[in-house]
């Protein structure tokens, strides 16, 4: 095993308590346990209730075409910290069925829908197994290995048509703009009427009427989104209203879906590095970080000291830039007219300047490499970061604090709105500031340290009420903690190389699987990568925090005012590039 995901005590616990149900995964490069589908629910119940693995981090699947089976992969963690447990269960590709984990972990709901949508794994007992990222009526399951996209060329890049003579013909050029839309003969987009969507049915089924209601009012079904000014992109909430109160809400997503994972499985390992920038486009450095960690686990390389420090500096700067922007735009969702948002953007711009100096790009940084970072930080840039971290940012964060924290309107609108209790937050697999605002001090940097985070002295920001206001406070405190880490990192950064080995275009990744996770600004960002020894990842899955955080949106918004739904969404801090992938 290239990585012992289980600590020995957990191993013992598993073998004593679950020996009959689980078998160890002995494939080379793999870890964790296998379980038969019929034993899955029983095993998971024991895992959660007796072994304390109460946090289901990731649910995904792998299509093993040659072995004619689909494998689901579950990553469990303890909300108290420590390393995780990987569980796998297989079914046949044709009619395979796997019991759904939603009764035990409600947080599996969207992830299982995604696995059904993209891989065609049927989850029995799932309350609402509809497509989630692809549209209703889509044919096939794109992440299956035998599914081919239009203009398919080859299984893996680099495509022969563009290599080696260097005559690149992009597939876009084969279908010039304007001619690239074709409709069936009897289809006229002007007169076409959409069929009633299944989401409306679900909305009516899951309605939770207000309690003491004397007069029955007409329900209004309203779409907030996709083309809406405050859903942070093309996200859609279908809302059923009783007056101004939400009695049912269903999120609809996938409008920005581009099948990131399928494209990534066609790419080479290194080609995916810039591709991860496009996930959470406000935090490209931390996306790079997660992916680099996952692949480094497979390759077995460790970055040199200086590179580790640079990575931490970049990740923490990213966190500050993302949090400060979220805070500013949360105020926009509260109806402030852009002033806080623009103040926040001003600071973010300074951080983006630094990214541009080190990587050449403000947002799509593409800065990390397997075993280090792509180039060193010049000393004068370090000086600029120092100046920013010790002088400007602390001042500006305090300023934001003094403007917003005690504002009466902010308080009345945020306190007690969108509450998620600690139990709910864990059950819904919420991550990041949402989880910590609900009173669960779970931060991957502390709970399961990666890179060199175990060397720094910082506190995990935590609040207890689990409402929008506490999420704001958590973000504020996290920015301050990030500054603390940055100061320590800038003090201790050693000299030396920034990349282990030579820079190379084609990395050699041994067969196996790895799950790399980092604490991104939005929460736990995980990359599950399976390699079969070829230049391309066999499976590449992103555990997107803002996607999974949306699982609890319905609960948070229930019986709130429609104006508050927008605020709750703002406090969840979604990035559509990551939600829809």
């Amino acid at each position: 095993m290239n990585d012992r995901l289980l600590s020995s005590t957990v191993d013992e616990a598993v073998s004593s308590r679950l020996s009959g149900l689980l078998t160890e995964d002995t494939r080379p490069g793999y870890s964790g346990y296998l379980v038969a589908p019929e034993n899955l629910l029983e095993a998971v119940q024991i895992l959660r209730d007796e072994l304390g693995f109460d946090y289901l981090s990731s649910v995904t699947g792998v299509d093993y075409l040659e072995e004619d089976r689909l494998e689901t992969v579950y990553h469990f963690y303890r909300s108290t910290g420590g390393s995780g447990l990987v569980l796998k269960s297989s079914c046949s590709r044709e009619n395979g069925r796997i019991p759904s984990l939603t009764p035990i972990y409600p947080g599996a709901e969207f992830q299982e829908r995604e696995a059904w949508d993209l891989l065609g794994i049927r989850f029995e007992g799932h309350p609402d197994l509809r497509r989630i990222l692809m549209w209703e009526g889509f044919d096939g399951h794109p992440l299956r290995k035998d599914w081919r996209e239009p203009y398919f060329e080859e299984e893996a890049k680099p495509f022969k048509s563009r290599w080696p003579d260097g005559k690149a013909v992009r597939s876009e050029e084969k279908t010039p703009f304007g001619d690239n839309v074709c409709f069936p003969p009897d289809f006229d987009p002007q007169t076409w009427q959409a069929e009633p969507e299944t989401v409306i049915e679900r909305l009516q089924q899951d309605e939770k009427p207000l309690a003491d209601e004397e007069i029955q009012t007409d329900r209004i079904v309203v779409n907030l989104g996709p083309q809406h000014p405050s859903t942070h992109g093309v996200f859609r909430m279908t809302v059923m209203l009783d007056g101004e109160t939400i009695v049912s809400l269903k999120p609809v997503m996938g409008y920005l879906h581009r099948n990131h994972e399928k494209i990534a499985e066609r790419n080479t390992f290194l080609q995916n590095m810039p591709f991860t920038d496009r996930l959470d486009y406000l935090a490209s450095m931390s996306n790079n970080f997660g992916y680099a960690i996952a692949v480094e686990k497979l390759m077995g390389v460790t970055p040199p000291e200086r590179a580790e420090y640079i990575r931490v500096i970049m990740a923490e700067l990213t966190r500050i830039s993302s949090h400060i922007m979220t805070t500013g735009f949360l105020l926009n969702d509260l109806g402030a007219f852009f002033t806080p948002a623009l103040y926040a953007l001003e600071e973010r711009e300074l951080i983006l300047d630094i990214f541009e100096m080190v990587s050449g790009s403000r947002m799509m940084c593409n800065y990390f490499r397997f075993g280090g970072v792509v180039r060193d930080i010049p000393e004068d840039v370090l000086g600029r970061i120092r100046q920013l971290v010790t002088d400007r940012l602390p001042r500006k964060i305090d300023e934001l604090d003094s403007y917003l924290t005690n504002n009466e309107i902010v308080k009345t609108r945020c306190q007690g709105v969108g509450v998620l209790t600690d139990v709910q937050a864990i059950a819904y697999s919420a991550a990041g500031p949402i989880l910590r605002a609900s009173g669960v001090p779970y931060d991957v940097r502390r709970a399961d340290p990666y890179s060199i985070y175990d060397r720094f002295d910082f506190d995990v920001a935590v609040q207890t009420h689990g409402d929008v206001y506490d999420r704001y406070l958590v973000r504020l405190q996290e920015m301050r903690e990030s500054l603390k880490i940055l100061r320590q990192a800038l003090r201790d950064i050693p000299g030396g190389p920034v990349l282990a080995g030579k820079p190379q275009y084609q990395v050699r990744v041994p067969a196996g699987e790895a799950y790399g996770r980092v604490e991104g600004p939005k929460g736990e960002l995980g990359f599950y990568v399976v390699s079969n020894g070829k230049p391309n990842p066999y499976r590449y899955h992103v555990r997107a925090p803002s996607f999974i955080n949306l699982t609890s949106l319905e609960t948070m918004c229930m019986h709130q005012k429609v104006a508050d739904a927008v605020v709750v969404l703002g406090s969840v801090d979604i990035i559509l590039g990551e939600v829809d992938r």
């Binding site: 009633p196 209004i220 079904v221 779409n223 996709p226």
Partner: protein, 118 residues
Amino acid sequence: MLENYYPLLVILSIAVFLGFLVVALGVLFGPRRPTARKGAPYESGMVPYGEGRRRISVRYYLIAVLFILFDIEIVFFLPWAVVLRQLGVEGLIGMFLFVGVLLVGFVYVWKKGALEWE
């Protein structure tokens, strides 16, 4: 006396003229290429579910009724305020009685929960 109001009629007619003029400007100069999609109601880009005009929460009507009640009572304040100096303490007592009645209604409405927006 009444001639003081004639200028108001003049400005009213000018305002009406201007209002329609602006609408006419748009009709005259704006292009007009309607399509089915353009004429569809906007609901964040989705086809709306159900009618746009519908029965709405009863609380709005409640507010409207309450407004009429209280607004009429407020109008009584205005002439009273003009002549209060002449009326003196008598006028004051009269108004206190009036406000007392008004407050009874107000407190009743408040306690009944008509002012709650939940």
